[in-house]
């Protein structure tokens, strides 16, 4: 095809999409559209570029940004922010984040006249950069993409701008899933956060492994208990992982669970957390990481030590290079590329399985909430309890999702403040969020409206696949025994120091209990450095205990 013709075609399709979007936008916010028209709009949105036609590109992101501009137009006139410059700090890793925001905000910039400058950070650099800006009083950004665990550092120090009411209306905040509503995103009763993500770790598994007749036969032949199937407890995960070592599926070496072992700037600790919550989070106790009255770490209690020991026991049965695999490697270079059969990760695996060019498991991927445990440790009695209801499940609400926050430094300039909140609201809009949940973005479903299976099927998703995925997310969010992460200052210092000690344990440098005791000692030191009384107060608040 001639390039000119191709360009013309491409431009035409963009214009067509843009015209449709403009028509809808002029009609008002998508929320004001008649129900059927809004459904059509969302269906059109999800067809960009369409499931199964490759990874979305910058042109697609811009198109989505253009289509979802209607809500902005309700509150901002064209060119209203001419001359305003905003600085946006966020991530620039393989899960897209800032790359995506650039595309989404380009039409917003063209419409409002504002200009956005970008500070791009690697995941592992994020915490250090943010802490340095806070401590040295050099906050050089107006908008930040930030996780709820940092709210103690930012909102607690008065550095964030309070959300205006018009933003709450524009982003249709009532649509958030329950666990993302206040107190998450609030501090001292004021709202600061626009959620753009809802984080939890779910359990991703390979359906072809667990429907494989040869493996089922071998499972029985080797005298394993129960039927061959998807594990629902960590005890079963361990057994399956050991069983699969040395076997082959479709001519390739078969592996069970994949543990991300190499540190990831503190973020790697979440993966041990996902193994530990079923053991450590008792339904009668909201706390699982620290004792809420003293901040005494629980990392060295029998529950956590058991989780650490599980990893030690599983490692010889995992791929030979697992010691040098960080979570990114495990999720994207191993699991999506066909290595391993079980993985705990954020929802990105589900949204990438069918839409990422490098994924080979789109048709053989299933999901559930994190495995449970036959017994759970009771920190109050020091005993292991067997619940009458059966295994204990405790989904790990790891990181509580990304949000967009506006910094207080814009408050002195009303035009700039409105521009910053408008940009943030555009990224956190109800319809744009459906698209980010469905395509590679770094974000997972976080609104009640995201769990409408027919919308996803309309976009090209296989119904069984997407139902499995959405159920795993919704059942995690709404689980009564969900393990909520503490929103306390310096939380990543705790995680980072734990990663160092865990690395030593995984390499055989110390046993589980000794290593866990060392982590506990280091955590006590950090608590004292940051201020124990304050940490206790904030930890209790994050657990809803005060």
């Amino acid at each position: 095809m001639k390039i000119e013709l191709y360009n013309l075609l491409t431009r035409r399709s963009v214009l067509k999409g843009g015209a449709a979007a403009a028509a809808l936008g002029v009609a008002g916010t998508a929320g004001l559209l008649p129900k059927s028209a809004r459904a059509d709009f969302r269906a059109d949105l999800l067809k960009i570029p369409g499931v199964g036609v490759g990874s979305p590109t910058d042109a697609d992101w811009q198109k989505v940004g253009e289509m979802c501009l209607g809500a902005t137009k309700q509150n901002v006139t064209e060119g209203e922010f001419a001359g305003v410059e905003l600085t946006f700090m966020g991530l620039n890793n393989q899960n897209l984040h800032n790359l995506l925001f650039r595309g989404f905000l380009k039409p917003w910039e063209a419409y409002t006249g504002a200009k956005i400058n970008w500070i791009d950070l690697a995941q592992a650099d994020y915490n250090g950069r943010l802490q340095q800006a806070i401590a040295t009083g050099t906050v050089d950004f107006d908008i930040i993409e930030m996780g709820a665990p940092f709210e103690g550092d930012v909102c607690g120090k008065g550095l964030a701008s309070e959300m205006p009411d018009w933003v709450k209306t524009q982003i249709e905040m009532d649509d958030y899933v329950g666990y993302l509503k206040a107190p998450v995103g609030t501090w001292g009763g004021k709202t600061y956060r626009i959620s753009i993500d809802g984080d939890c770790h779910n359990f991703n598994y390979r359906t072809d492994y667990f429907s494989n007749a040869e493996l089922a036969e071998a499972w029985k032949a080797e005298g394993n208990a129960g039927e061959w199937g998807v594990p629902t407890t960590w005890q079963q995960v361990q057994a399956v992982t050991k069983f699969l070592k040395g076997k082959q599926v479709d001519g390739q070496d078969a592996y069970g669970y994949l543990d991300p072992i190499k540190g990831w700037g503190g973020f790697g600790f979440y993966f041990l957390g996902s193994r530990a919550t079923a053991y450590a989070k008792h339904p009668d106790d909201p706390a699982w990481l620290f004792d809420p009255d003293t901040m005494k770490p629980r990392i060295n209690n029998p529950a956590w030590v058991r989780a650490i020991q599980d990893v030690i026991d599983a490692l010889p049965y995992e791929p030979a290079d697992q010691l040098n695999a960080d979570p990114g490697t495990t999720g994207f270079q191993q699991f999506l590329a066909g290595t391993g059969s079980m993985l705990s990760w954020w929802g990105d695996i589900g949204s990438n399985a069918k839409t990422n060019d490098s994924s080979v498991i789109g048709d053989v991927c299933g999901f559930s909430i994190l495995p449970g445990s036959d017994d759970v440790y009771n920190s109050k009695t020091g005993q292991w309890d067997k619940l009458a209801s059966g295994p204990n499940f405790a989904p790990n609400m790891a990181y509580i999702g990304w949000g967009v926050y506006v910094m207080a430094r814009v408050d002195s300039d009303s035009k700039k403040q409105k521009a910053a909140w408008s940009a943030a609201a555009h990224l956190g809009g109800k319809d744009i969020s459906l698209w980010t949940a469905a395509y590679p973005s770094g974000f997972q479903p976080y609104r009640n409206s995201h769990f409408n299976v027919s919308e996803w099927v309309g976009a090209g998703y296989d119904e069984a696949f997407i139902k499995s995925y959405l159920d795993s997310e919704a059942n995690s969010y709404n689980h009564p025994n969900a393990a909520i992460e503490p929103r306390i200052p310096g939380i990543f210092q705790y995680y980072s120091v734990a990663e160092d000690e865990l690395s030593k344990i995984w390499a055989g440098g110390s046993d589980a209990q000794t290593g866990a005791d060392r982590i506990a000692a280091a955590w006590e030191k950090i608590t004292d450095e940051i201020g124990r009384d304050n940490q206790i107060k904030l930890y209790k608040a994050s657990l809803g205990l005060s």
């Binding site: 592992a124 650099d125 915490n127 250090g128 802490q131 340095q132 806070i134 401590a135 009083g137 550092d153 120090k157 072992i261 190499k262 540190g263 700037g265 503190g266 791929p319 030979a320 290079d321 697992q322 010691l323 040098n324 960080d326 270079q333 191993q334 590329a337 290595t339 200052p489 310096g490 990543f492 210092q493 980072s496 120091v497 990663e499 160092d500 690395s503 030593k504 344990i505 995984w506 390499a507 055989g508 440098g509 950090i526 450095e529 940051i530 201020g531 304050n534």
Partner: protein, 366 residues
């Protein structure tokens, strides 16, 4: 040429009143600057209630003081003062950018400064130093540094061989000289990704595939301590051997040819010619190259941070990569600075001893 210092009307002779004015200018500017620094310090220490919100005005005052100092020197010392204008900017810049940060860092090293702490920076005496002595991660990293420094000798041997090769009359010598230099031109971060995370990747890396073909079942280059340490050392060597090689090549090209030719006439073998003539003559260049390389080696961090993050279990950790984690991931500025300052002292002592031993050895052999 006319002597400007004695010519009539020259600026060499300084009028007494001008000299006095110069002295006064320097004195007043210095007192003012010192008073400003003192007042701002007291304000920041919350002893007095007035001062600047940031230290930026003090930085500007430093520039102003520098200008007054330069002007005062000219007024006071005439042509001698003009001469000082060539040096003064460099001195003031070095004071601001090197000497002050080093001493300020020393102060920070004795404070408890966790960036997440609500209380901010607090003086903590020798607490960080005691913590350092009891920190197994720091001593583990120092132990690893001994290994990494020893690998410099291997790098030197290979670089010497390559330098001899490139100094010989071989075909395409110019091409090889450029080609051998290429790794040194690459950023170590790029090398980390190109080699550590691509060529040596366990699943699809060509080197891993080759290793499998040669019979190594599980070619994981970064999972067992000594293999990981060696893999890092090999990547590091790949980057830095060209640096040593180019220094040695320059030394070889500067050697008088007559000596080796005379040895050849006298019937010396190639080995004898190298060992008895070339190597001793190259000793000063060799020592310079090795010492410089060791200084660089002691700062090894980039490849380790990118490829292994110090693992497995700290096996590849370096002092710099550990300090990096302490700063970046744990925001522990006070302790991190103590680690860095202590390491600086160790490096200074080590390099001084090394130079002293090397000098004695060179004198002895010559």
């Amino acid at each position: 040429m006319q002597d400007v210092s004695t010519s009539p009307g020259s600026i060499a002779r300084t009028a007494p009143d001008r000299a006095v004015a110069g002295t006064w200018l320097i004195a007043v500017a210095s007192i003012l600057f010192a008073a400003l620094v003192l007042a701002q310090s007291l304000y920041k220490a919350e002893v007095i209630g007035w001062g600047f919100e940031t230290w930026r005005p003090i930085a500007l005052a430093y520039v102003g003081w520098g200008v007054a100092l330069a002007l005062g020197m000219v007024w006071r010392r005439g042509i001698e003062g003009h001469k000082s204008l060539f040096v003064l900017p460099a001195v003031l810049f070095t004071v601001a950018m090197v000497i002050f940060p080093t001493f300020f860092g020393l102060y920070i090293a004795f404070t408890d400064w966790n960036l997440s702490s609500f209380e901010g920076r607090r003086f903590s005496g020798l607490k960080n130093l005691y913590a350092l002595f009891a920190d197994p991660y720091y001593w583990n990293a120092l132990g690893n540094m001994v290994f990494y420094v020893l690998t410099v000798l291997v790098q030197y041997a290979i670089a010497f061989g390559l330098a001899l090769l490139l100094n010989a009359e071989i075909k395409a010598r110019k091409f090889f000289r450029v080609a051998f230099l290429l790794p040194f031109m690459l950023s170590p971060v790029a090398v980390s990704w190109m080699i550590g995370k691509s060529l040596l990747e366990y699943r699809y890396g060509p080197v891993a595939k080759l290793a499998r073909f040669l019979g190594w079942d599980s070619p994981a280059f970064f999972t067992s301590p000594w293999v990981a340490k060696t893999s890092i050392a090999v990547m590091d060597a790949w980057v830095w051997i060209p640096f040593i090689m180019i220094m040695l090549l320059a030394g070889l090209q500067a050697l008088p040819k007559e000596l080796s030719e005379a040895a050849k006439v006298d019937g010396a073998s190639k080995w004898q010619s190298f060992w008895q003539i070339t190597f001793p003559l190259m000793l000063p260049v060799s020592i310079t190259a090795i010492v410089l390389r060791i200084i660089f080696q002691l700062k090894l961090a980039d490849i380790v941070i990118n490829v292994t993050s110090g693992g497995p279990g700290g096996a590849t950790d370096t002092v710099s990569s550990f300090i990096f984690r302490e700063y970046r991931d744990r925001s522990n500025v006070g302790y991190g600075t103590m680690l860095a300052e202590f390491y600086l002292v160790l490096i200074i002592i080590f390099i001084t001893l090394l130079l002293s031993i090397a000098n004695r050895w060179v004198k002895k052999t010559q």
